[in-house]
């Protein structure tokens, strides 16, 4: 859980390319997500066991060149992606996205 409650509020969401999503957060932090990294973390029931949280979709099932076709805002709390493999059911809350930030600072927190 980020300490600052505004940390997981995006101020800018940008599909940089089919390979990368960028989010700038209210606290100024900038996150860059390679598409396959996000796809591997899909929280939907067919990718993760709802009860145990165990992975059903294994990282190796997602090719490193997997592309993001579309990005949609869900209500005002999450993002939904259309992936090149046809998958689109995952709803990534902003809290989850902030927690998934792959930068070295966030990875060591």
């Amino acid at each position: 859980m980020p300490l600052d409650p505004t940390a997981s509020m995006p101020v800018k969401i940008k599909k940089v390319s089919p390979a990368e999503l960028m989010i700038v957060w209210k606290d100024g932090h900038e996150s860059h997500y390679p598409s396959p990294v996000l796809r591997r973390e899909c929280p939907c029931a067919s990718c993760r066991d709802e009860m145990t949280g165990a992975r059903i979709l294994l990282p190796m099932h997602v090719p490193d060149n997997l592309e993001m076709r579309g990005v949609h805002i869900v209500g005002q709390y999450a993002l939904q992606f259309d992936w090149a493999d046809g998958h689109h059911t995952g709803i990534f809350s902003f809290d989850l996205l902030r927690a998934l930030c792959p930068c070295s600072y966030c990875r060591t927190q």
Binding site: V11, I73, V74
Partner: protein, 362 residues
């Protein structure tokens, strides 16, 4: 502007705007000049005339702001009279999806922890109050299993369609649509897919709501498919939670509150219904279940407290008769309480429309 007034005895536009800057909108916490509320300012022979364009016709402090503005302008040398024309333009709350519901400026959900606390009663009276104040209002009854709203509005006609769009009914000055009535109409088109989710989406996107300042959505009790679908399908301006003093320590409403918070739906405030009983003989208030539980809980949670509604047989009998109390007996004490709640909701909506960030994917 001031330049042209040099040498004349009349007050200048700058002088007038200067004093008007002292009038603050207590909800938006800015002055009415900065907020752009002053329109069509005309100064002629000592007469100062302008429109005061507020963010809602149901503004709880509009008389206060007008009186303050008039008093301040009258203090400007050379002013002989002041005419203020009160107008309102409900601002659009930030919408990420510009295509769906594009004519609807604000969407307010009314929910509760448990059933029977008076959600529909409060939703209908809030909607009717906003309508009576001059706003364009829609009401969506999103309770398929126990639709009571059609009874409260005295209309249970199956909705008509105009080609591909469903036309909302009109009642009590509102555009109205009920998921239950769509079910009754039994149009096969409507009942595909997971029932509640599909029906709600149709009520949102396939109904020709037209231009609305407020769309009020009466939710089923608790949390479920309809709530999640709603939070996922549209950016809600906010939610009103209805509770009663009997919901022990507000525990029951907490789950509903948390669900809205998790989906980042702003909580506009809490209404405590059936808070006290007004003795029909002596008009004395009797807090049967203890006093101020609701406002204390709201304080602790940092959520606005919107008001206490009495247990009043007139509220119920007007609902049963299909004509909301705020319209049928607008001067009764209970109608006044309900109207004040609607005004506070409108004020909270204005605050959200000014504050909320617009989220877009670039």
């Amino acid at each position: 502007m001031a330049f042209w007034n040099k040498g004349e005895s009349g007050p200048s536009e700058d002088q007038v705007l200067g004093v008007l800057k002292k009038v603050l909108d207590p909800d938006l916490r800015k002055d009415i000049v900065t907020l752009g509320f002053i329109r069509n300012l005309k100064i002629e022979n000592g007469n100062v005339k302008f429109d005061l364009n507020l963010t809602t016709p149901a503004c709880p402090v509009k008389d206060q702001m007008r009186d303050q503005a008039v008093a301040l302008i009258k203090g400007v040398p050379g002013v002989s009279s002041v005419d203020v024309n009160m107008t309102a333009e409900v601002r659009q709350s930030p919408q990420s999806d510009k295509t769906s519901l594009k004519g609807v400026r604000n969407i307010i959900a009314v929910g509760s922890g448990k059933g029977g606390v008076g959600k529909s009663t409060i939703a209908v009276n809030i909607a009717a109050s906003l309508g009576a104040a001059g706003a364009r209002v829609g009401l969506l009854d999103a309770d398929i299993y126990g639709p009571t709203t059609p009874i409260m509005l005295g209309t249970d006609a199956a909705p008509q369609s105009n080609g591909s769009r469903i036309v909302p009914s009109r009642a009590a000055g509102l555009k109205f649509m009920s998921m239950g009535l769509i079910a009754k109409a039994d149009q096969p088109l409507i009942w595909r897919g997971p029932m509640a989710t599909k029906a709600l989406q149709q009520c949102l996107f396939d109904v020709d709501w037209g231009e609305l300042d407020y769309l009020v959505i009466d939710l089923p009790p608790g949390t479920g498919d309809v709530h999640l679908t709603l939070a996922q399908s549209i950016p809600l301006t906010g939610a009103v939670i209805v509770s009663t003093p009997q919901d022990v320590g507000w525990r029951i409403s907490m789950k509903t509150l948390r669900m809205f918070q998790q989906t980042r739906v702003p909580i506009l405030g809490i209404v405590e219904n059936m808070s006290y009983y007004i003795c029909p003989h002596c008009n004395e208030k009797d807090y049967i279940f203890g006093q101020s539980g609701g406002s204390r809980a709201a304080d602790q949670l940092g959520i606005p407290f919107l008001g206490e509604v009495p247990l009043d047989i007139a509220i119920r009998s007007q609902s049963d008769a299909g004509s909301p109390l705020v319209l049928h007996q607008p001067n009764s004490p209970s109608a006044k309480v309900l109207r004040e709640i609607a005004e506070k909701v409108a004020a909270q909506v204005s605050i959200r429309s000014f504050e909320a960030p617009v989220l877009e994917v670039e």
